[in-house]
Amino acid sequence: MILSHTPTKREIVSFVVFGDGRYDFRVLKAICEKFNGAKELVSPQLQGAKGLTNSLRSVAKLLDILRINVEKTKFVILIDKEHIGDIKQMKKKITEFFISESIKEDVQKQFFKFKILRGSKKTTLYIIVMGYNKCIEENISHLIEKIYGERVAPTRQSIREFLRRKGINFEDLIRRASQKALNEAFGNVVELLKEIDR
């Protein structure tokens, strides 16, 4: 699978909105590359959305302006847990932009799937929450432990230092991860990509 900023094909499978920024883009892009197939995910953001409300606003605007068949297109928000609050709050925010129906809620995996309606446009929205308590660095730290058996503090600086010491970058780390390790550290992302790939 491919994650890009600009569509390379006329048919787009999914649009991804990141609640934070470049860091999350790089992680998802690397995980996408572990999946075969040429399906394309596109992230047309100017910068990270900074929060759930802004992410939902981006999805809403995309729905308003796209002339493609959005029913076949999936929308994804990848966002850190610290921006979400509880599930009730998350659902309330969704209703500020869409009429929604929950299709799948896996609280353990932090994987949420909704049918949403805005005007006459109907589509599927996934909210993928990163971090067990706070942010995606916790997932990366978990993955490092699975691959190297080493505990690294879930901060950007500690992870950078660890990767530098190993002479690798994020992409290399994810490339080196087994399917099992990825499933454990990024279970919700793996499930999302499997659904999109179907």
Binding site: H5, P7, P44, Q45, L46, R57, L62, I65, L66
Partner: protein, 331 residues
């Protein structure tokens, strides 16, 4: 406004436009590479004197030769390198049409009637409100200024500026352009541009300790040089319509801001093409009246689809944190 609407068929990479478009005062063309932006500007640039026998203002080649030089020769003006291209303009309720053959021959029509070049020029002068008195052809010819993103073009214009330096000095353009544009985009204290020894254009730079240096224009960086030459070109021509391809080429966002504001303050109809988010961001902030954003998209049959957006549409999209350039084909 000079040109009200335009329709293009079989010109360069455009097989045909789905429909004609009605231009505003400030028109911004956006689209992916090879979406037809340059071809659209080049089609407009043939107006009002497209014939091979007449050079474009300030240049040693005709408008059609200029386009041919930018590409692979005269046949590249026609879609598929053979046949006849057609460009229609609506001006003051008159329909002007050019038919261009793959050999570069041009036939002009006004309101459906084919005219020889001399009759056409007289008729177009009437339509444009220009009296047939001394310099009337030059007056008509100067009405449209086209600035392609091409270093050879800039070089030619620079040479012409040198040869017409007395006119430029007399008009005060050499001071105005530096004061209103250049000194606002660089930290140096430039006061004017001057023709120095060996016909080299130089900028006069004042230092805080009252020392004065003359800096060669070719030594000040591509972006500023491009801005200076283009602005002098426009100041000399004082056109009614400015066509500027890839306006952000070699330009820092600060330079773009100054340039766009300068252009908007002139009483010109403007059509620019851009890939720059800075240009779009700036326009949404300034929100000049009668501004239209045109999203160009060529379909798989090379038909040009053009979607019109307003400044408010673009502002809404940018404020929703979406990079409009990424999804042009899906709009």
């Amino acid at each position: 406004m000079l040109i009200n609407s335009v329709y293009i068929k079989e010109f360069r990479g455009i097989r045909e436009m789905r429909e004609s478009i009605t231009l505003g005062r400030l028109n911004v063309l956006i689209g992916r590479n090879n979406s037809g932006k340059s071809a659209f500007l080049e089609a407009l640039s043939l107006f009002p004197i497209p014939f091979n026998a007449y050079n474009a203002p300030f240049l040693d080649s005709s408008r059609i030769q200029l386009i041919a030089q930018l590409h692979s020769g005269l046949e590249s003006l026609v879609y598929g390198y053979s046949g006849i291209a057609e460009i229609k303009f609506s001006i003051n309720h008159n329909e002007i049409m050019y038919r261009i053959t793959d050999h570069g021959n041009i036939f002009a029509f006004i309101d459906g009637k084919r005219l020889d070049s001399q009759t056409y020029l007289k008729e177009i002068a009437k339509i444009l409100g220009v009296k047939e008195e001394e310099g009337w052809l030059m007056k008509i010819n100067s009405m449209v200024a086209f600035i392609p993103n091409d270093s050879n073009f800039l070089k030619s214009v620079r040479e012409k500026i040198v040869s017409a330096w007395s006119t430029i000095m007399k008009s005060g353009a050499n001071v105005r352009v530096v004061r209103d544009l250049i000194s606002r985009v660089v930290h140096d204290e430039f006061t004017e541009v001057y023709l120095g020894a060996n016909n080299v254009l130089e900028l006069r730079k004042e230092l805080p300790d009252d020392k004065v240096f003359w800096i060669r224009v070719t030594d000040i960086g591509d972006g500023v040089e491009r801005l200076l030459i283009s602005a002098l070109y426009l100041e000399v021509l004082r056109p009614k319509l400015v066509l500027w391809d890839d306006i952000e080429a070699s330009a820092h966002p600060g330079l773009i801001e100054v340039l766009i504001k300068w252009l908007i303050n002139k009483n010109w109809q403007i059509v620019i093409s851009t890939h720059s988010i800075d240009v779009l961001n700036l326009l949404t902030k300034i929100a000049p009246a009668d501004t239209l954003i045109w999203v160009l998209r060529c379909d798989e049959y090379d038909r040009l689809n053009i979607k019109q957006l307003t400044i408010d549409d673009v502002a809404d999209i940018l404020e929703s944190n979406i990079d409009i350039r990424r999804i042009l084909d899906q709009l």
